[in-house]
């Protein structure tokens, strides 16, 4: 690694956007390294929850940071850096899925489906999921991840961005390059599906859910 620790320490106080400006203008590898260290964990987490495989997630996270390095000139300071980076990660994950399912009949255009549309053929849930003990060591974590993998990718993408990365609806709309209404609809439908898929786990733990209406 060509960056000195003292150089990094001086930059840790800077905002993402300032670091990105430094990286763009001076080609500062120190600024780039600080950004990588700041985002490697959330990006890898997002990708793992999306693809369900630890090794693939690590590889795709590296691909995301590689694209950040390569296409730094495409970032505009008016954008929020985190949103821009998550957009890259989402595109990387989509490409990965497209390549994996390249023999299926659907195309990427279905990613832009409107709010009213049902998930298209592209959005085939991943049935090849094998629990990864290195990440999800508990039974509940494995069951939740399995349920996530059973969601169509666009639903999974939306729910992971919302519930795990805790992005706002507006940020998710920007990352997914879609309408705000579509995002809300996808998140709601993802929650409904997860309820169906995880009800038995909940009942095992707490018994039958009770109403609090009265």
């Amino acid at each position: 690694m060509p960056v000195r620790p003292s150089e990094l320490k001086a930059l840790t106080e800077l905002t993402d956007e300032d670091l990105m400006r430094l990286f763009q203008q001076d080609n500062s590898e120190a600024a780039y390294t600080v950004l990588v260290r700041r985002y490697r964990s959330p990006i890898t987490n997002f990708l793992y929850r999306f693809v369900g495989n630890y090794d693939d997630a690590l590889d795709l996270a590296q691909e995301t940071f590689l694209r950040l390095y390569k296409y730094k000139h495409t970032y505009h300071s008016v954008q929020r850096f985190s949103t821009w980076l998550y957009t890259i990660a989402t595109n990387v994950a989509r490409t990965f899925y497209q390549q994996r399912n390249r023999y299926s009949t659907a195309s990427l255009t279905s990613m832009q489906s409107s709010e009213e549309e049902e998930p298209s053929e592209w959005e085939i849930p991943d049935t090849s999921y094998i629990p990864d003990q290195r990440v999800d060591s508990t039974y509940i974590a494995q069951r939740i991840q399995k349920a996530l993998m059973q969601l169509p990718p666009v639903f999974r993408e939306a729910i992971v961005l919302r519930e795990i990365l805790e992005l706002s609806y507006e940020e998710i709309a920007e990352v997914m390059q879609t309408e705000l209404g579509t995002v809300k609809s996808r998140i709601n439908r993802a929650r409904q599906r997860l309820q169906e898929l995880l009800r038995d786990v909940y009942e095992e733990l707490y018994g039958t859910p009770t109403s609090q209406a009265e």
């Binding site: 390294t33 964990s41 929850r49 990440v135 939740i144 707490y206 109403s211 209406a213």
Partner: protein, 151 residues
């Protein structure tokens, strides 16, 4: 003021029905909490090292591609110059100088003499060509020739 508000409360309560809580409220809450509590993925210590290796490899490939593109361009330019150079010379010397083409020596074609073509028919003697009309016209300010003698 506070007393009035207090008096209005039972009235409001009577008019506004309580919001129904869905049956699966707890389940939904549990799922959201469980999603947020999912364990974080461990990042190996070699993550950055591997990333820099990929970046350097990518840069090497790019510089190699760049070099290749330049060499292809130079080769094409050189080839073009070589190809155009003979064409720029006179057409008589093309056969001698054209690259990749040997000089083809052809023997002269001998055709037997035919009398019909050799014999030249007698031709009438050629009349001397008439002087152009313009020369007979008087030239203003110059020496004009005399008109031909009348018979």
């Amino acid at each position: 003021m506070n007393e009035r508000e207090h008096k209005n409360q039972p009235l409001l309560k009577a008019f506004l029905s309580s919001v129904p809580v869905p049956e699966d409220f707890e389940l939904q809450l549990w799922i959201r909490r469980a999603l947020r509590e999912l364990p974080s993925v461990h990042i190996p210590d070699t993550f950055e090292e591997a990333l820099w290796q990929r970046i350097h490899a990518e840069q090497q490939i790019n510089s190699w591609r760049h070099g290749l593109a330049i060499s292809v361009l130079l080769t094409a330019l050189w080839g073009g110059i070589l190809g155009l150079w003979p064409a720029s010379r006179s057409s008589t010397s093309v056969t001698q100088t054209a690259p990749l083409r040997g000089v083809v020596v052809t023997e002269p074609l001998l055709i037997p003499a035919d009398q019909r073509f050799i014999e030249i028919p007698p031709q009438p003697p050629r009349k001397p060509s008439l002087q152009p009309q313009r020369s007979l016209m008087p030239i203003p300010g110059g020496t004009n020739p005399l008109p031909p003698p009348e018979e």
